[in-house]
């Protein structure tokens, strides 16, 4: 395991510099700077609507920045054309908030989908790989079920299996434990840690669950008002004396984070599934 550290010396896997993004009059990202080292597990925390999902969607090129740059392995994501971005995305596996499983397909078909799309594998190799991925998330034997027959936690895990199926270099987890009970949350965290240790991928997880953040992160960063206001390894992060960090960790209603009226639209928030900015999809052929 690499030592958790702010990756500034060697070439980072992902480098984000001065990233700005607004949706209409609403400024969501206001100069984000952060580096993510190869095989590092970064957790980004922050309240609802602080732009965590938006940040994640910039890394994988689902959204384009207004200004600033996201470099992955030295490639500036925002300069990629549509064909290049398709190629570029092979590096990534992403798990979405509610799993985003294709509900017309079985679990097996869902996990096989990226393999059929991204890799040239024989039918048998695909079958073996699907079984392997399902066992990694401890869901052996559910291949024939439809997503609607699964519990929330199981759907997320199928989403993980689908995200890792094509052996990506970078894994992105968008709120993997939101809306799950504590036991399931612990299980999901365990699965994420296992996946990370087994696959040696770089992982970026966004969450507002402090317990999971400390469990799965090599490093924790906090996003607030469109900027990274603190970043440190979990133990250090817990002891930071920034009042905003302390308020968030301890979940207090009173404090510097509450001085502004809470933003509306807790679920999803900016960049969430219902965000108008997603309408400007840019996969024109």
């Amino acid at each position: 395991m690499p030592e958790p550290r702010p990756a500034t010396d060697s070439e980072p896997k992902i480098r984000i510099r001065d990233l700005h993004k607004s949706f209409g009059p609403k400024v969501v990202l206001d100069g984000v700077d952060i580096d993510i080292a190869p095989a590092e597990a970064l957790v980004i925390i922050g309240g609802s609507g602080t732009g965590k999902s938006v940040l994640l969607k910039h890394i994988i090129g689902l959204l384009r920045p207004d200004s600033g740059t996201v470099r992955v392995d030295g490639t500036a994501v925002e300069t990629l054309g549509n064909r290049q971005i398709t190629e570029f995305r092979r590096k990534f596996g992403m798990s979405f908030q509610e799993g985003a499983l294709f509900d017309s397909m079985t679990v097996w078909q869902n996990v096989a989908f990226p393999l059929q799309r991204l890799k040239k594998l024989s039918r048998r190799e695909i079958g073996d790989r699907v079984e392997e991925c399902l066992s990694m998330v401890r869901l052996e034997g559910t291949g024939d079920k439809l997503p609607s027959q699964l519990s929330g936690g199981m759907r997320r895990r199928v989403g993980f299996a689908r995200a890792v199926a094509h052996q990506p270099e970078i894994l992105l987890f968008d709120e993997p434990t939101t809306g799950l009970d504590p036991v399931t949350t612990a299980l999901i965290d365990e699965v994420i840690v296992e996946l990370k240790e087994r696959l040696h991928t770089t992982t970026v997880t966004i969450t507002h669950d402090m317990e999971s953040a400390f469990r799965i992160g090599d490093r924790v960063a906090m996003l607030y008002k469109g900027k990274i206001i603190a970043e440190a390894p979990p133990e250090e992060f817990r002891r930071l004396d920034d009042p905003r960090v302390q308020q968030f960790i301890h979940g207090r209603a009173e404090g510097p984070l509450s001085e502004e009226a809470p933003r509306t639209g807790a679920r999803g928030g900016a960049g969430g599934p219902q965000d108008p900015a997603l309408e400007t999809s840019w996969h024109k052929p």
């Binding site: 985003a100 499983l101 991204l118 996969h283």
Partner: protein
Amino acid sequence: MSVRMPGAVERYFEQAGRFFQMLWQVFAWTPRPPYDWRELSRQMVKVGVSSVPVVLLTTMFTGMVMALQTFTTLRRFNAESFVGSLVALSMVRELTSVLSGLIVAGRAGSAMGAELGTMRVTEQIDALEVMATDPVHYLVVPRVWASTIMLPLLVVMGNFVGIFGGYLVAVVLMGANPVSYVDRTFQFMTLNDLLSGLVKAAVFGLLLATIGCQQGFYTTGGAEGVGRSTTSAVVVASIAILISDFFLTKLLF
């Protein structure tokens, strides 16, 4: 001071722009592999085969009511022998394709809006993009072509049934001479009449699927948004069908 367009006008142009953008993307993606024949045939069943009963029912009764109305009117001029021509030409040139278009817009176009809308708000469309799959190529292209292919086929069946419905009413109910009725039915019909109806149907199929998919694709605002997309998939497609029908008729005759 800049002049701001009123919201409704702005929305209209936005919709129109998105429609042509979607249409352009469908054409641009169509020739590119991989060709998903299985999805195309699945959609053809969904759009076409499952619409057969309702289309036949509608055209049958339309043919019947046409015969009923025109028979009583034309009898006043002793011209009831022309009922056959009138029913056949109206059905073939106009009514079957428009009615089928409207019905399929209500059945299949709305389903497309709802399905793609749900996929959008549950991030399934993002998931497709992340897995290096263009959502327009994967979702919209097969739906649009399935609908464009199936509507003319539905119209062929609808034409037969509509004319048959007219025959039933005129001959059985009103006592017209069966031989001269059939004779009149085909006397004035040209291949052009038939083809123009089919061309219209294909255009309507293209329109309703593109609009249904476009409404779903750009859904925002959760479950409520999906409802809105479903409604506007039907409303916008129906209006587009009726308006384009006028211009197509002007063009084709």
